[in-house]
């Protein structure tokens, strides 16, 4: 694609609703050249020769821009809306409301969309920063997160290529299932080289990667290799790649030597370690920029039994809307209004899915190619996400049960709505899936949100896990995990004097005692000092 053509398309992409004259377009596409010409026309001292030259130049620019504009008209990307004074042409995008145009030329892809009218029923909330679409520019034409089955790829090169291709189809994270097989079945230098290369790609493309290590599949004779790999991973201090250890408490005990060594590496690097409790939740967890993603456990079990062996992967999440609960209730105290607001979000997600469905073979070309002939199955477990921010967990002066009940009862209504929609679509001859999951939103996201009010859970020693305060705190967290069917994460700030043996025991207690499927230990605040247990507000 020629640079001028590219600039023209970007110009119309920014203004999909507007009509522009040739001169308007010229000014925007060749601003410097146009400015120089205009300066000559305004120059009182410009002689006839200079003026003629400027006129010629202006004519040339007009012809040049018209050449590209006419080409785009011929390609049905633009259309001439009218002819103005002196025959000047006006151009608009050749698109109807709600339609999208995908232009794919010489490795450059531009997607131009014209919002449909009436707009989504969350626009008003977006203007007030109460709701926001995650990655609004690619809200429809990309998935949020996918899971790849690493065991289906014959070698690291194949896996690397697949990840690379999928990057253009997702806007948050790719999960790599059974990543332990990648480490165990390849030479260490090869898997390390893969890790470095893929990390650099993640940085360039701004994507995250979750490598899920299932401890069940850990082979005793390969543990050294895994340890070496983890060392290298921790040395990288990658912000884009997360290792998630998928464990059962029994395995934690069986592999205690391995775990202690791993924990030591994480402590020394002051890196967070992520643990998923397989006893509690068998479906994988993926960690994105904006929060965790997971699959419905019952659906995952069916997938595992019937399809996993054939599958290259699964779509996990399609579109996401984030909600600032605190800001909503500052505007309105009406619970009924809150439920209606969430329903409006779900309706918007339904519209987004409808647009996505009709173009999915174009949008997700790489994924379609990768998963063929099991393309349909790739989407069978996917859900949309609503992520809650500042929803009052442990906010002082707020009844926790009340917040959780509100989320739970709203979720029930939304689930019923989704079932109705699936029934309606099926009756119309469109058997399709529409599911919405609730989850939390991580801090540090780019949305303009209210200041977060949350407790931090700090653990100083093993006994803290039995303290009344922590027990209460984790009790609420357990409830939240139940309400957030799209996943949640508990973050423990470990301070005080520590050693890997103690941490291993603490993990075991959490795995056995609490119904918390996914948690992380954050070692960033270790100072070596014996700090008292505190819970403090960020």
């Amino acid at each position: 694609m020629n640079q001028t053509e590219y600039n023209l398309l970007l110009f119309f992409k920014k203004n999909p609703q507007k009509e522009f004259s040739t001169t308007d377009i010229l000014i925007n596409i060749f601003p410097d050249e146009y400015k120089n010409i205009e300066e000559i026309f305004k120059n009182q001292f410009a002689d006839k020769q200079m003026l003629n030259k400027a006129k010629r130049k202006k004519g040339q620019l007009h012809r040049k821009i018209l050449y590209y504009l006419n080409n785009l008209v011929e390609e049905d990307i633009l259309k001439i809306s009218k002819q103005g004074n002196k025959g000047e042409k006006y151009f608009v995008l050749s698109l109807e409301g709600g339609e999208e145009l995908i232009i794919n030329k010489s490795k450059r892809k531009i997607i131009i969309s014209k919002p449909s009218m009436p707009a989504m029923p969350i626009d008003g909330y977006e203007q007030k920063n109460i709701a926001a679409r995650f990655e609004s520019a690619t809200w429809i034409d990309r998935l949020n997160s996918i899971l790849l089955e690493t065991t289906k790829f014959r070698n690291l090169k194949e896996l690397y290529n697949a990840i690379n291709k999928c990057f253009s189809n997702i806007n948050d994270v790719i999960g790599l299932n059974d990543f332990e097989s990648v480490i165990q079945n390849n030479e260490l230098n090869e898997s390390l080289s893969f890790l470095r290369k893929i990390n650099s790609e993640c940085v360039d493309y701004g994507k995250k990667l979750s490598c899920i290590i299932d401890i069940t599949n850990l082979k005793k004779e390969k543990t050294n290799k895994v340890i070496e790999f983890i060392k290298e991973y921790c040395d990288m201090h990658s912000e884009n790649i997360t290792l998630i250890f998928d464990v059962r408490s029994k395995e934690l005990q069986e592999h205690s030597d391995f775990f202690e060594e791993v924990i030591d590496i994480f402590i020394n690097s002051k890196i967070r370690i992520y643990i998923k409790n397989q006893d509690l939740y068998c479906a994988p967890y993926i960690l994105g920029r904006i929060g965790p993603y997971c699959f419905d456990e019952n659906e995952w079990l069916i997938y595992k039994k019937e399809f996993q062996k054939k599958s290259y992967g699964l779509a996990c999440s399609q579109s996401t809307v984030v909600v600032d609960v605190n800001r909503f209730f500052r505007e309105s105290n009406d619970l009924k209004q809150f439920r209606l607001f969430i329903k409006n979000i779900v309706k918007s997600l339904l519209s987004a899915n409808s647009l996505q469905r009709r173009k999915s073979d174009e949008y997700f070309k790489n994924i379609v190619k990768l998963t063929f002939p099991y393309v349909k199955e790739f989407f069978t477990l996917s859900r949309n996400y609503i992520r809650f921010w500042n929803y009052g967990w442990k906010e002082p002066n707020l009844n926790q049960n009340y917040v959780i009940e509100l989320i739970k009862s709203t979720k029930e209504e939304i689930d019923n709505f989704c079932v109705s929609e699936e029934t309606i679509y099926k009756s119309c001859g469109m058997p399709t899936r529409f599911k919405v999951a609730f989850s939390c939103l991580f801090s540090g996201s780019k949305f303009k949100l209210s200041k977060g009010l949350f407790y931090k859970t700090e653990i100083r020693k093993l006994e803290d896990l039995y303290s009344k305060e922590i027990e209460e705190l984790l009790g609420v967290k357990e409830e939240i995990f139940q309400a957030f069917d799209g996943g949640d994460r508990s973050r423990f700030y470990r301070t005080g004097k520590i050693n890997s043996k103690d941490i291993c025991r603490e993990f075991n207690i959490i795995l056995k005692t609490y119904k918390i499927p996914f948690f992380c230990y954050d070692f960033a605040k270790i100072k070596g000092a014996d700090i008292k247990l505190t819970t403090f507000i960020r």
């Binding site: 409808s354 009709r358 349909k376 029934t423 001859g429 469109m430 399709t432 899936r433």
Partner: protein, 208 residues
Amino acid sequence: MDAWKSSLKYILESGKDFTDENNRICREVLNLVIEVKNPKNDITRAVEILNSFKKWVYPPLDEIADLILSRKLSPTYSYSYGPRLFNFHNAINQIDNFLIPLLKRNSFSRRGTVLIWNPIQDSNIYKRDVPGLISIDFKIRKQKLNATMVVRSNDLFFGWPANLYQLFVLQDYIGKKLGCKTGSLTTFSNSAHIFKDQFEDIQQVTSD
């Protein structure tokens, strides 16, 4: 529109109840035939009425139309009518390469039938989603193209308005290609049913 309301009323009053495989109470009339003589008059009216209920969102008309006209099978659908019509079993374009040439050659033909149901794919007792629409028949009589669809299982409240609209856009597509005026639309529903969960909404529609 009147046809829809009368049919709903008829099922409400004369249908027989049973519990289906999804544990939903269903009221059914077998082999119900509905003929819409002038579909152009109010083809979207039933969809508009369904849209006026705020508790659900009915599929947009362009997506309903897409389903029957689009040759591409979206990866997110279990099946779609368009690919079955325009590329049946990856073997035949039943509309452009059979039906239209057939009716062009012999406008009185009685062979203008296209199939949606594909026994190779659908006659499988373990398959979850199979098409409700079985076949569509086209007849040119009195210079008008009339269309009839056979639906094995037809939710008259939610499904029928979309099915009729799909039949309408397909009839329009073929009519234009044949240079022929469009006539009536008929649906033959082997099982025309409504669900108990919607009885109140249906009563609201029929009483308006």
